[in-house]
Every structure is written in C-alpha cells, then in structure tokens.
Amino acid sequence: MSHPGLLTACAAMLRRDLKLAWRRRGDIAMPVLYALIVTMLFPFALGPEDTLLQRIAGGVVLVTVLLAMLLALDAMFSSDIEDGSLEQLVLAPQPLALMLGMKILAHWLTTALPLIVIAPLLAAMLHLPGAVIPVLLLALLLATPLLSLLGSVLVALTAGTRRSGMLLALMLLPLCVPAVIFAAGAVARADRLARCRTGACRGAGAVGLRSCPSYCSGRLTTHHV
C-alpha cells in the first residue's frame, strides 16, 4: 500500500490549519485590532505633529506588527499537543519537520498576512509618505516569516510550560533585534541601500527556513509526545 505523496500531505495539513483558523476567525482579528489600537495611541501620546510622527512611523509599524504577532504565537503548537494530534502527526509516514513547516506557513498566513494587509493603514495613521509604504511592505514581507520561524523554535521550547506566553515574549524579542534593525534601516533609507539590507534579511530567512522546522520536530518529539 503506498502512502499519499508529500504534496498531498502538505496540502492536507495546510488546508487543516487554515480551516481551523477560519473556524476561529475571531482569533485572527485580535492581533489586527491590537495593532490598530497601539498605532492609534502614538498620535495621542506624542501629539499630532506631522514631522515627528513621520520620522517614527516606520519603526512604530514594525514594532507593532512584531508585538501583535507575539499575541498569537504561543497557540502555534499547543492545541495539537493537548488533543493528541501531534502524536498522530509524529506517526504519519511523512517527515515531521515538513508537516510542522506547513503549520508554520499556515500560522504566518493567518497572523502575519492580515497584519501586512493593514500595514498601509497603520502607516497612513502616522503620516508615513506614500512612497515609503512599498518598502515598508517589502520589509514586513521579509521580516515576518523570520519571526514566525524563530517563534516556532521558541514555541517548541516553551510548549507545555505554564505561562509560556510571557516566557516566549522574553525570549523572542531579543532575537528579533537583527530583523528589526534591518527592516527599520530599509524603511528609513527607502532607497537603493534597502535592497542589500533586505537581501541580508532574506539570507537569514533562508537559513531559518531550513533549520527551524527540523529543530521544532526534534524538540516536540523528544519532550511533548
């Protein structure tokens, strides 16, 4: 008896997680609302001075998106550990790292993508010049997968501990510094220099893409199954 191909399995996995996210679409809206509210607070706190807001807009949007992603991160593997789905996933014929990779992709699609979609709105709230917005979006498109991958490793590390959300934030935020520096730098210059910085970000992403899911699979099988 032959097993379904990797592509079928990946599609099944991705469809499952997207369907689950859709059934709980209120949870998808939460980080988006959080990002909107946090961004709204800045003009209130700093006053409606255009030049000041413009100067900090890129960084504010980046950090807000990062914090909003943190809100949804600790749920990445927890429900699968609780209901035994992870055991079934470990026993499935496909490599676990690949299946977890699909979970990370689904997680990125359901948490980071909505945030990227509203990023232009967030930027507009802070009067970021329209010309800079494409660079901001590009920086987010490169930085958020990196955060998802780094986050997945830490979620695998902290899964099963009490109050893992807080611990996760404390561990992940320092690791995000390079991504934030590169992305913020790119937005601040918004010129040709951006290309080489985002290139570095992409390189780091490729490394993460290869190593993070395998690390997660190792960690989750040894400690939580």
Binding site: H3, A9, A11, R15, R16, L20, D83, G84, E87, L91
Partner: protein
C-alpha cells in the same frame, strides 16, 4: 495459526523496559506477537501500560532490552505507516467535523482499498453526525470518531489504549468485531483495558505488567 508461529514474529520484545529518571517504569518484558494475533496488556493503574504502547508506537525510546519489528530493530523507517496508535488523547480537532478529521488522516496516511470517509463513518455509527463539530459530540461519539481511523487507515499493527472507554454496549461489541476482522485479515493488535473483555475468535495472548 501454526504456520504463522514458525514465521518471523511481527513484533518481538526481549527484556524490554523503560527508564524514567533511571528508574524502570515496568519490569523487563518478553513477548512475541505474530500476524493474526491479539494481545491484551494487563496491569494495575500506573503499571506502565500506556508507556509500553507509546514505546511500541515509537513515541518513546526503548530504555533497555530489544524491540524487533519483523525481525529487525524497530525503527521509524522500517515500520512507517504500518502501526496505528490510538491513545487517551484522541487526536481529533474539536473545531472540525468527524468527516474533516478523517479526511486529514487519509491525506497523511492514505486509506484502505474500498473504503471511504463516509462509508466508514456510517459503519462506526456516526451517520447523521458527519458534519457536526467534534466539540459538540458526546464522549462516546468522539471515541467512535477516533476509532473510525481503524477502519479507514491501512495498518498492520493496532495499538489501542483503552479502546472501550466511554463506549456503550454496542460500541464495545463493535470494537470486538473490528478486532476480529483485523486479526482474521492477518493484522495484529495490542489492547489495554481495565474492563472485562470478551474477544470474538479465541483467547487473546496476555501480557502482564508489573511495576
């Protein structure tokens, strides 16, 4: 049966034990399981029945001793897709319906020839509940939804941890029937249970666990 016994056993344990913080969880075990056989794992609470099943499924590493699958050391590569494990946690997503849960299972492990998700759900007694979220099913119905995997997925060895828990009388009869069909077709099964079990088709092999 006699021919099967001379063949290489499907599963063979020699002085198998598992260590938790350097303490053995159960006394060393020796047993063989051939194709077409059924084994009942017996023992008190905390005697390590679940641990044993998890080791056999490959979810825990063997502590000491040997564990062979078709004559070779049990590893993920040589038994992939042949072992079906059903634990205390049912592995069902509460927000999805039984049908969707089984569709994922077939997407990963494939499905037996001549079966389909819908036919299997009918057989297991969940017709009318195919599209109800698992969250809203009763404990017994959830168990049935998980047991439907036995009918649907291709596997040689079934490892069933308390398959009778939460089931009504017809459900228990159904599980016994499933076990009979599986062993007659050349499969094997290891079952843990607290309750009195009456298998169809002969006396099962007994594996006693001692703490």
């Amino acid at each position: 049966m006699t021919a099967a016994h001379t063949a290489v056993p499907l599963l063979e344990a020699r002085a198998l034990s598992f260590l938790r913080q350097d303490e053995p969880v159960f006394a060393p075990l020796d047993f063989q399981l051939h194709a077409g056989e059924l084994a009942l794992v017996e023992g008190d609470n905390g005697s390590g029945k679940t641990t044993l099943l998890r080791i056999l499924a490959g979810l825990l590493h063997v502590g000491e001793g040997e564990l062979n699958w078709r004559g070779k050391p049990l590893q993920r590569d040589n038994c992939v897709g042949e072992i079906l494990f059903l634990g205390h946690q049912l592995g069902l997503k509460a927000d999805l319906s039984p049908r969707e849960n089984l569709q994922i299972a077939t997407g990963l492990s494939g499905c037996r020839d001549g079966t389909s998700v819908i036919s299997v759900l009918g057989e297991i007694g969940l017709s009318g509940y195919e599209d109800e979220p698992v969250r809203r099913l009763s404990a017994g119905q959830k168990k049935r939804a998980a047991l439907a995997r036995l009918l649907l997925l291709p596997a040689t060895l079934w490892l069933l941890d308390e398959p009778y828990a939460n089931l009504d009388r017809t459900g228990i009869a159904l599980v016994n029937q499933l076990l009979k069909t599986h062993t007659t077709a050349g499969g094997a099964a290891l079952v843990t249970s607290h309750g009195a079990v009456s298998f169809h088709g002969g006396e099962p092999r007994h594996i006693r666990m001692h703490a």
